[in-house]
């Protein structure tokens, strides 16, 4: 079983390599369409034309685009991720601090969204044909019509301003020291350092942003799961299970739900990818120090080395999460596994 999973994962990642190369080239070319000159923007106002030329040469901006791309790719492979034009720090440093924060946020949002979505889907299925289902249907329609970043603002208004229950700015209470970096994941590091106060502060700061992400995901899961439950409930094997005298409880959890879960798992794979997009503005709004904040700052300042790397990191994350979800799908579905 584990072997099968690893083999599938290996092949998935093998297939992901050309995609990554295509993505990196795409990003590179799009960014070179830029009308403004990033070098000019990073120089002080009094700089001369020679200063500019020198900087352009230093940054490699004077070469042709394919050349620039190959140089960048080569640097990337040799571990040189470049220097931020705006922050004037190695891009690798910026990304390695921001990445664990974004991952913590996405995973919490995903977990929360899946739990609420699956529970809601089951509830809708149980209430099918009645007023309860209609009500849940209307609520889910409404919830889907508000994007994550507006949920973020509404949550701040509700639980940060109107009823101040939860913190809504930053990653932890001001004045707290970042625990010594072992894994880079602050939640883990604070536990390792034995700083429970930091841990709880981190957790509290995670609640609102994670909820904002989860609210956008849950109704989708709910509806897809409900639809597949209804479909599977009409299948022959469910009827046959009933004719064997199994209890409705047993039929739902042993037969209907596992079969209905397959399309939901696919959906989660796609939506988890989209969720990384959702984090961008949510991070901006909560002042959460993750990749989203980083890329928005970089975009505002035309900081190409940062944009390039962060975009690539997002792609790696999406591909990784897709591969992980696909492995789960294959493990759950024997038809694909035993091929």
């Amino acid at each position: 079983m584990l072997l099968v999973a690893l083999r599938i994962l290996f092949f998935r990642l093998l297939v992901a390599v050309p995609t990554l190369i295509a993505v990196s080239a795409l990003v590179f070319v799009i960014l070179r369409l830029l009308p403004a000159d990033p070098a000019a923007m990073s120089l002080p106002p009094g700089a001369t034309a020679e200063d500019l030329a020198r900087l352009r040469a230093a940054l490699g901006l004077d070469r042709s685009i394919p050349e620039q791309y190959l140089i960048w790719l080569g640097d990337l492979l040799s571990g040189d991720f470049g220097i931020s034009i705006y922050f004037r720090r190695p891009v690798a440093d910026l990304v390695s601090t921001a990445l664990p924060n974004t991952l913590e946020l996405v995973l919490s949002g995903l977990l929360l969204g899946v739990i609420v979505g699956v529970a809601g889907g089951l509830l809708m299925f149980r209430a099918r044909g009645g007023r309860g289902e209609e009500a849940l249907d209307v609520v889910s329609s409404a919830m889907m019509s508000i994007p994550e970043f507006l949920w973020a603002l509404l949550l701040i208004l509700a639980f940060g301003v109107a009823v101040p229950l939860l913190p809504f700015i930053g990653r932890m209470a001001p004045g707290m020291m970042t625990p010594p970096g072992v894994t880079g994941f602050l939640l883990l590091d604070s536990l390792i350092a034995g700083r429970l106060d930091v841990f709880f502060s981190l957790l509290l700061h995670l609640v609102l942003p994670a909820v904002a992400l989860a609210i956008a995901l849950a109704p989708l899961i709910m509806r897809v799961l409900r639809a597949s439950l209804v479909e599977v409930a009409g299948d022959d094997f469910v009827t046959q299970a009933r004719l064997r005298g199994l209890s409705e409880q047993r039929i739902l959890f042993a037969h209907t739900l596992p079969n209905a879960a397959l399309p939901t798992i696919s959906l989660i794979g796609v939506q988890a990818g989209f969720m990384f997009g959702g984090t961008v503005l949510v991070e901006v709004i909560f002042g959460y120090p993750g990749l989203g904040n980083l890329i928005v700052d970089a975009v505002r300042n035309h900081d190409l080395p940062v944009i390039q790397l962060v975009a690539l990191v997002y792609c790696v994350l999406v591909l990784a999460i897709n591969a992980a979800v696909e492995v789960i799908y294959l493990l759950v579905n024997p038809r694909l596994r035993t091929h």
């Binding site: 369409l33 329609s141 409404a142 970043f149 890329i295 999406v318």
Partner: protein, 283 residues
């Protein structure tokens, strides 16, 4: 075909919302109580007229520059609906065309389209849009272009698999055997079969386009910062949201109602347009 099939609650509510918004956008100058750009620095951050301290001249209050929120909301519909209509239609045309070709002919074109969709899908759409706007430069026309370039895959992915289903139907083979050319089969048999799905997706995509435009306005990559757009309004009001929450809530509500309208319409149209639900005697 009876009109009654189209009179479901979803279609009626969704259609009414969208129709109302379209009217507001068209007649914005007549509806808006004030000039949306005019700054009344004596009246900044006024609450709505019914709240204590409100002023009847500004029914929904003013923002931090003393501009009339109601008027800015009204004019904001123009930006939102323009982007929704043009960007969604563009993405639909591009995505549907590629999906039809890929799903019907298979082979190399299918491989190419599928790989392109895979590559696009490995980007969170927001990230791709951000990068495109860095490359293309800011502006509402660039936002429209970015949405088309990013979101054609939503159509291509879903419609391609529907085309694959339709293509296996015997009536496609029957049309070929009756002498139809591939183009005629695509136009007369395949396209009508996927049209309900295309229309549904179009409606949903309009909602998505509204959100993307608001997002890009919020980050400052769409319209000029003084143009009345809902995303700009939210970004402006965010700084003073503790004193004046309505500045955030009102444009959020506008976005919500617009997207809800498109979503309800899309959800409602799918079953109404599906001819397999047209049964014996139900003419």
């Amino acid at each position: 075909m009876s009109a009654a099939r189209f009179l479901t609650p979803r279609i009626v509510v969704g259609g009414a919302l969208i129709a109302a918004l379209v009217l507001v956008a068209i007649f914005a100058p007549l509806i808006a109580p004030n000039d949306p750009e005019a700054q009344e620095l004596l009246y900044v951050l006024l609450p709505p007229a019914w709240a204590p301290g409100g002023d009847a001249a500004f029914p929904l209050g003013t923002d931090s520059l003393g501009r009339c929120i109601a008027s800015r909301l009204v004019f904001g519909t123009r930006v939102a609906l323009t982007v929704a209509l043009t960007a969604a239609t563009g993405a639909m045309v591009l995505g549907t065309l590629l999906a039809l070709l890929a799903g019907y002919f298979g082979g190399r074109i299918d491989w190419l389209v599928s790989r392109a969709v895979d590559t696009w899908m490995s980007f969170p759409p927001v990230i791709l849009a951000l990068i495109l706007l860095v490359g293309l430069g800011a502006g509402v026309d660039k936002v429209i272009l970015a949405i088309i370039i990013v979101d054609w895959t939503r159509f291509a992915r879903v419609i391609r698999s529907e085309v694959l289903v339709v293509r296996r139907r015997d009536y496609i083979a029957a049309a070929r055997l009756a002498g139809f050319s591939h183009l005629a089969v695509l136009a007369r048999e395949v396209l009508p079969a996927v049209a309900p799905l295309v229309i549904t997706l179009l409606s949903l995509e309009m909602g998505i386009a509204v959100i993307v435009e608001a997002t890009m306005s919020f980050v400052g990559l769409s319209v000029e910062s003084d143009v009345a757009a809902w995303g700009v309004m939210i970004a402006d009001a965010r700084r003073s949201m503790y004193q004046a929450p309505w500045g955030v809530v009102l444009p959020t509500a506008a976005i919500f109602l617009t997207v809800l309208g498109f979503n309800l319409l899309g959800d409602g149209l799918r079953p109404a347009l599906d001819p397999s639900l047209r049964t014996r005697g139900a003419r």
